[in-house]
Amino acid sequence: MVPSFWPILAYAGFLVGLGGAILLISHLLGPRRHQRAKHDTYECGVAPVGTARERFPVRFYLVAILFVLFDIETVFLVPWAVTYRRLGVPGLIEMFSFIAVLGIGLYYVWRRGALEWD
């Protein structure tokens, strides 16, 4: 039983390392400008002051929707990756056409300006 946990442990270690590395690199390379807003409590980009009943901008929903869609893409990617060898080239083609469909959708959304923040 024990050996089968090694990959997971390795994966966890890799993730921690990657996260740390990213933080470290951005800390080292990023420019520093101290502003008032930077020191406020982090609230996902929304000003933390004012009434709590204020509505979220609709854009967040749009991003959330896109996130859900691409998140779900993984649901198919993982089983495919697991059986990658058995599926072979046909599987590869199928998967790429799947990703291409999503990509075309994303392209359309982008060209229609749905990703513009303002």
Binding site: R86, L87, G88, P90, G91, V101, I104, G105, Y107, Y108, R111, R112
Partner: protein
């Protein structure tokens, strides 16, 4: 992993064609001028639908099963596939002008239309419950969006919301039904489910939930309540497509599941009384509610509920694969999809910028101002009422005959009574069009929308042809049912 052989691809062609069309629309749209009519999108959509048509015709013949039995290209699915592709094509034709009037002349409109069509065709050819589920959802999700595509019209959005909420709710039941059937048999392939004894409570419970899902899609009472609201709120061209395509695809899958997975005598004896009830309720509630309507689209929605009842009469009196009833249902749904699409095409034609032409009273004197539209609308309504020599008469004749032949006399009588009452509300618009002075202003200066006229003409011609010379279509429907095994 099976090889993707030629059979696999061939069977997939009718679904692939509109799917690729949808992608092409998405890729093309950003390069088109914003202010000009987006005709290239119409061409792409029409082209891909014609390709789907050709693929259906190419596959017409013996049963080909592919994708490990998940999809079946047989006459049964292709028969209504033709109806679906035709309905989509006519909708696109009519949309060329309509979408611009309603301010939705954009890529997503056409691509959603094509995606819904792909879902419908998938549903019509689905041979296992997974494909049924995927087909239904592909179709439905696209149609939810279409119903609400005119975002500026509150009623359109409300219709989409109601349709969506209830649709998702019904999907839950459908899925649960599938889960229970899978649990009872370990199978999702339709013909394999049939090998299991039908008397197990788990299987029957699954069937019950399945009926809820299908009943919702085809709009049978008491699962119909979304229909009037969604039909009224959705833009006319979409409503027509919804009424014709969703119903045709829904019935195709419904009937296929009932005939293959639950086609045994014991199973049929179990579901027939339940469907009897649904059919009777649909006919009665649909007809009665339609009587009191003042909105043409809403009236047609209730009429579609009643027509679901008529078609279910044929399902009940189907007599299994050997009987005429199931074939009568196929023929009925085929004719119904044409004759219900027609009025919506006319409504779409008469609509003006951002404003639907939907009150029955607005029809007053239409025969003077728009004689062609009025004549076509009259023909569609007469056909819906089942008056010879239109296709509606033929369809009703076969369905009721099948029911009475197999001993369901009561259902036949309810159907005939409902038909008689229904004449009242189908006739009212005709009376208004031909026998009243015009009330509403008509915009005569608009350029003639030839594409729409052509679509309406095709629908009218098809109705007359199916009414006068139904033999071939009926023969094909019989072959379709016989070729199911």
């Amino acid at each position: 992993m099976p090889d993707i052989g030629s059979a696999e691809l061939r069977v997939l062609l009718p679904v692939l064609a509109p799917l690729l069309g949808a992608l092409a629309v998405l890729l093309t749209d950003p390069y088109l001028d914003k202010g000009r009519p987006k005709l290239p999108l119409v061409y792409i959509a029409l082209g891909s639908l014609m390709a789907a048509w050709a693929a259906l015709g190419f596959l017409w013949g013996d049963r080909v099963v592919a994708w490990s039995g998940a999809l079946a290209a047989d006459r049964f699915g292709l028969y209504l596939g033709f109806a679906i592709a035709t309905a989509a094509g006519l909708t696109v034709l009519s949309s060329a002008g309509y979408a611009r009037k309603m301010g939705v002349d954009c890529g997503e409109y056409y691509s959603l239309l094509l995606l819904a069509t792909a879902g419908m065709l998938l549903l019509a050819m689905a041979n296992d419950l997974l494909m049924v589920f995927l087909g239904i959802e592909t179709m439905s999700i696209a149609v939810y969006c279409l119903a609400g595509i005119t975002r500026e019209r509150p009623r359109s959005v409300e219709a989409a919301m109601k349709y969506f909420l209830l649709g998702a709710f019904a999907t839950g039941f459908l899925l649960y039904g599938i889960a229970l059937i899978y649990g009872a048999t370990g199978e999702v392939r339709l013909e394999r489910i049939a090998h299991h004894a039908a008397n197990r409570p788990l299987l029957l419970a699954g069937l019950g939930f399945l009926l809820v899902g299908f009943g919702f899609k085809v709009g049978a009472v008491p699962f119909h309540m979304w229909a009037p609201d969604a039909y009224e709120g959705a833009p006319a061209a979409v409503t027509g497509f919804m009424a014709a395509g969703v119903k045709a695809a829904g019935f195709a899958a419904f009937l296929r599941v009932l005939l293959t997975a639950f086609g045994g005598e014991a199973a049929a004896a179990a579901w027939a009384p339940a469907l009897w009830m649904l059919a009777a309720l649909s006919m009665i509630v649909g007809t009665l509610s339609a009587l009191a309507q003042t909105n043409l689209k809403r009236m047609l929605a209730w009429s579609s509920v009643a027509h679901t009842g008529y078609a279910l009469v044929g399902v009940v009196g189907g007599g299994g694969v050997a009987g005429n009833g199931s074939a009568a249902v196929l023929f009925y749904v085929l004719t119904y999809s044409v004759m219900t699409l027609g009025p919506f095409l006319v409504i779409a034609l008469l609509s003006r910028a951002g404003e639907e032409f939907e009150q029955i009273d607005d029809l007053a004197g239409l025969a003077r101002r728009r004689p062609v539209a009025a004549a076509a609308l009259s023909l569609f309504l007469l056909s819906l009422a089942g008056i010879p020599p239109t296709a509606g008469f033929m369809g009703k004749l076969f369905v009721f005959r099948a029911a009475i032949d197999s001993g369901w006399l009561g259902l036949g009588v309810i159907g005939i009574l409902a038909t008689l009452v229904s004449v009242y509300y189908y006739l009212r618009p005709i009376v208004l069009m031909y026998m009243r002075e015009p009330r509403a202003e008509f915009n005569a200066s608009e350029p003639t929308d030839w594409a729409s006229h052509f679509a309406i003409g095709v629908a009218a011609l098809a109705l007359l042809l199916l009414g006068v010379l139904p033999s071939d279509a009926i023969a094909a429907s019989l072959e379709s049912v016989r070729g199911l095994w």
